[in-house]
């Protein structure tokens, strides 16, 4: 049985490699906000209040492009609706927690944290304080995101644009799913999702980000039926 501290540290260690892509991306996010003409305090407030990578950039780009606030807010909600799926997966492991703890832990659920904690949970179901792993991944992400966006806001985009560091984001997610390429059913689900995301890329409110997972999960359900 691992202690709370050991689980927290393990979570920190499991997510830290992803900071290689998260930190440059955070710097770019902060710098873009200021470049688009928003007040630095507002740009930073987003990292604290929304705390959601790409959705923060989209929000500012829409507003600066003249979209109504309703459109900008709705887009953030739709982009981040994928957390509903993460929550559905994680709920199994967080069931025993008190309602208040569930409310608090929810704030730090992020893509990479979900991915790494979910992998850990599947292998260590019997651990009593599993949620400390999720707190570890989430808090590491939170601290790095605040520091990265803040440095982008204060120092501007000191990351040279020619390096194309935004490309590190798809790479970080490749690292997350690449081992599942061993399983044919997962490959089919991934390709379905990827192709749908390209097909529906122009759908309103960036909704491709939730439409394609729904299509892919539908295919997954069909595959499960075929397997039986």
């Amino acid at each position: 049985m691992l202690t709370k501290k050991q689980l927290f540290t393990r979570g920190m260690l499991d997510i830290s490699p992803h900071m290689l892509s998260v930190i440059p991306f955070g710097i770019i996010c902060g710098a873009i906000g200021v470049e688009l003409g928003f007040h630095p305090y507002l740009v930073y407030a987003m990292s604290f209040i929304i705390f959601g990578g790409a959705s923060q950039i989209v929000f500012l780009q829409l507003l600066s492009g003249g979209a109504s606030s309703l459109v900008a807010v709705a887009s953030v909600g739709i982009i981040n609706s994928r957390h509903l799926l993460y929550g559905a997966v994680l709920s199994e492991y967080l069931e025993k927690l008190s309602f208040i703890k569930k409310l608090l832990i929810s704030y730090v659920v992020v893509d990479q944290g979900f991915a790494e904690s979910n992998k850990f949970f599947k292998k260590n179901r019997s651990e009593e304080f599993l949620h400390y792993h999720l707190i570890g991944t989430g808090c590491t992400m939170w601290v790095c995101w605040q520091i990265a966006t803040l440095s982008g806001i204060v120092l501007g985009s000191f990351v040279p644009e020619e390096l194309g560091l935004k490309f590190a984001i798809p790479l970080t997610f490749i690292a997350i799913v690449v081992q599942d390429l061993k399983k044919l059913d997962h490959v089919i689900v991934m390709i379905t999702c990827g192709l749908s995301s390209l097909l529906f890329f122009d759908a309103p409110f960036k909704s491709y980000i939730i439409i394609s997972p729904i299509i892919a999960l539908f295919i997954a359900a069909l595959l499960l039926r075929l397997k039986k």
Binding site: H18, V73, G77, L85, A88, L163, P170, V178, L181, L224
Partner: protein, 105 residues
């Protein structure tokens, strides 16, 4: 006001994080749904990966000889065999930089 919009966007985002964790009990989901949820990582992350590679900053499809496609392929191969996150990201970035700074320059 922008701050008000940010607060609304934040509340909405928090709700997406909290709803399934705090308000839904696991028993409300049947076994079939639980089996499908096993696929969530494979069903969600390609929607971040594919547009990040194949669509440029202006929302248009890239050319088939774009360095990002090569970089992503290298990342997949290195990631598959190394099982290492840092190696995967660096392999993708370095091969991408090699093409844009050395080959196409």
């Amino acid at each position: 006001m922008t701050l008000t919009s940010i607060i609304f966007a934040g509340i909405l985002t928090y709700l997406t994080r909290m709803t399934m964790i705090a308000l839904i009990s696991r028993d409300m989901l049947g076994d079939k749904i639980k089996a499908v949820l096993e696929y969530v990582p494979s069903a969600v992350f390609p929607a971040i990966i594919f547009p990040g590679i194949f669509i440029n900053d202006f929302g248009a499809f890239i050319e088939m000889n774009d360095p990002k496609i090569f970089g992503a392929l290298v990342a997949v191969i290195v990631g598959y065999f190394s099982k290492n996150i840092i190696a995967t990201i660096l392999a993708g970035l370095v091969s991408y930089w090699f093409l844009i700074f050395v080959v196409f320059n």
